[in-house]
């Protein structure tokens, strides 16, 4: 792999920031980790593997990410909850034409009021990362999740 050390660390920083923004509930800052013309999708492994296009969350631009943030914050009704992302090792798949492709496994834990923390969603990220406006951003992030039987609702992005 020809990804230089510094770039790898910068990618790691991007991913760490992603996890922490979501886990701190800092949803508003989250769309800025994507490019304007990004594609973000959370899709059950079943659909992904069979080539079925339906996704649980489908955003075709940073604007749609922002619309989702607004919907989650201002219109949706749900119990308060904590999420916690723990991401595994990143597998670099290549760097060409300024685009780094990578994949990584993740586990997200959910804690509802008065309940124990539980495994909420596990799967893998399929990423395309580019330099844009002076920093790395996701041009494409597909979350393919194993946890097809979703425990009630998937309120926040994965």
């Amino acid at each position: 792999m020809t990804v230089p050390v510094e770039l790898r660390l910068e990618i790691q920083d991007l991913m760490a920031e992603y996890c922490h923004l979501l886990d701190d509930g800092d949803l508003c800052a989250w769309p800025a980790l994507f490019t304007e013309d990004c594609f973000y999708q959370v899709i059950p492994r079943e659909n992904h593997d069979q080539g079925l296009p339906l996704a649980t969350i489908r955003c075709e631009s940073r604007g749609m990410l922002e619309d989702r943030v607004m919907a989650v914050r201002d219109t949706a009704m749900y119990e308060p909850r904590y999420l916690r992302h723990v991401q595994g090792a990143v597998r670099m798949l290549g760097a060409e034409d300024g685009v780094v492709r990578a994949e990584s496994g993740y586990a997200v834990f959910e804690t509802l009021p008065d309940e124990h923390s539980r495994v909420f969603n596990v799967g893998r990220y399929l990423d395309e990362i580019v330099r844009d406006g002076g920093r790395l951003r996701f041009r494409r992030r597909i979350c393919v999740f194993d946890s097809e039987l979703i425990p009630n609702t998937l309120v926040y992005p994965i």
Binding site: L52, P53, T56, E66, D67, T75, A76, I150, P151
Partner: protein, 411 residues
């Protein structure tokens, strides 16, 4: 009535009638077990799947009716069959793949082999090995097939029943048939994908929720804000004669305050989409921009703008049910329509801008009723009857549902 569920139900429904629902109905496991027998596996046509999911001979797909696993198959003659996923030998849930194609089903344990209709075709070593062992002389494969259900298909949708007595499907639907045919008009269907969630509440709360037009303009800020559903939109509810089925139909209004929205506190006039492609509905049906059809015992047909979905209710216990979504379109859809459906799917399913509200409220309902089995819900909006109404300020269809439910359950 078997002994298992029969003895514990000295439960009594509140005297008021169907405008009260006792909270034990949502939490008592003995009630649940009786529901599995009488509601899901009794006199009724239960949803199993779409015919387009098993287009080719040999195609099969797992499904469930109540808590019973079934397999829907396309036999070699092209017919659709539904069989219990339970080997006739010693009960193994033989079919493990969620879907696939096979000439026959072979149970992994002792390789009893069934054809796609559920007939037992082969029992290994039935005549013994080296003249030793084997099945008794009088053992006949014909007596040991899989449990088969009666099956009906209408315009691409497959239903099955354990009952010998239930009327034909069209009759069973009664006046709902036209609403069914509104979406299933004979065009080919295309599955866009699946979504599944386990909702920690009693399954009946899902029916109540969809049959309840009263909540939509209050709970769903997103819907209201974009005028997809409002109490002041032209709307109506219709029931069949028994009350078990219902439909709720409404037409999109506009995104502004009106005289009649004074009670809708959550209306947000200022809310604008940054990427309006998210919500770019195109009218598809003559009447209504949304129609939610609830069919006893286990199906909701959802048409909200351009999202079409079967919502299949699979109860797991008194406290939880699986909601299995099959999003679909028509084979006449162009690419733009398919993309539109996929985008609007952001409103539905476990992460949907609208349906998250419902799933969450169902959990809160279950949490609220659990410790109070002897209290009861009050369903008096729109009166105390279960009749058709030309507005949505009513709980009429829920009362209809419980009228039939009480009949079936003997409460």
């Amino acid at each position: 009535m078997t002994g298992s569920a029969g003895n514990l139900l000295d439960r009594r429904w509140p005297e008021e009638g169907v405008h009260r629902v006792p909270y034990w109905a949502y939490t008592d496991e003995a009630v649940f077990r009786r529901e599995m027998e009488r509601v899901f596996c009794g006199r009724g046509w239960a949803y199993v799947g779409l015919a387009c999911e098993i287009p080719e001979p040999g195609d099969f797909r797992q499904s469930a009716i109540g808590d019973r696993p079934v397999v829907m198959t396309r036999d070699l003659e092209g017919g659709i069959n539904v069989v219990m996923n339970r080997c006739a030998h010693r009960g193994v849930k033989f079919c493990r793949a969620r879907r696939g194609n096979a000439r026959r089903f072979v149970c992994p344990y002792h390789q009893w082999a069934y054809d796609l209709k559920g007939n037992l075709k082969a029992v290994p070593f039935a005549r013994g090995v080296k003249r030793q062992g084997g099945m008794p002389e009088d053992f006949r494969n014909e007596d040991h097939g899989l449990e088969r259900l009666r099956v009906t298909e209408r315009n691409g949708v497959v239903f099955a029943t354990f009952s010998d007595e239930v009327e034909p499907f069209e009759e069973y639907l009664g006046p709902m048939l036209a609403w069914f045919d509104r979406v299933f008009d004979g065009r080919g269907l295309t599955v866009l994908g699946y979504s599944r969630q386990l909702i920690p509440s009693n399954w009946k709360l899902m029916f109540e929720n969809i049959k309840d037009p009263y909540h939509a303009s209050l709970l769903h800020v997103f819907l209201v804000t974009f005028g997809l559903f409002r109490a002041d939109n032209p709307s109506k509810v219709r029931l069949d004669a028994t009350g078990r089925h219902a439909v709720l139909v409404s037409s999109k209004g506009e995104q502004r305050k009106s005289d009649a929205t004074k009670d809708m506190e959550n209306l947000r006039e200022d809310f604008k989409l940054k990427d309006p492609r998210l919500l770019d509905p195109v009218r598809e049906y003559r009447e209504g921009t949304v129609a939610m059809l609830t069919l006893w015992p286990n199906l909701i047909v959802q048409q909200q703008s351009n999202t079409l979905a079967m919502r299949h209710l699979i109860p797991r216990s008194a406290d939880a049910f699986e909601l299995a979504w099959t999003f679909f379109g028509y084979d006449t859809d162009d690419a733009a329509m398919t993309t539109r459906r996929l985008r609007q799917a952001n409103l539905m399913g476990p992460a949907g801008f609208v349906s998250v509200d419902d799933s969450e409220v169902m959990k809160l309902s279950q949490d609220g009723v659990r410790p109070s089995p002897d209290a009861a819900g009050v369903l008096e909006m729109g009166g105390r009857e279960a009749d058709d109404q030309d507005h949505i300020v009513t709980e009429s269809t829920i009362r209809g549902f419980y009228r039939h439910y009480r009949d079936v359950m003997g409460f």
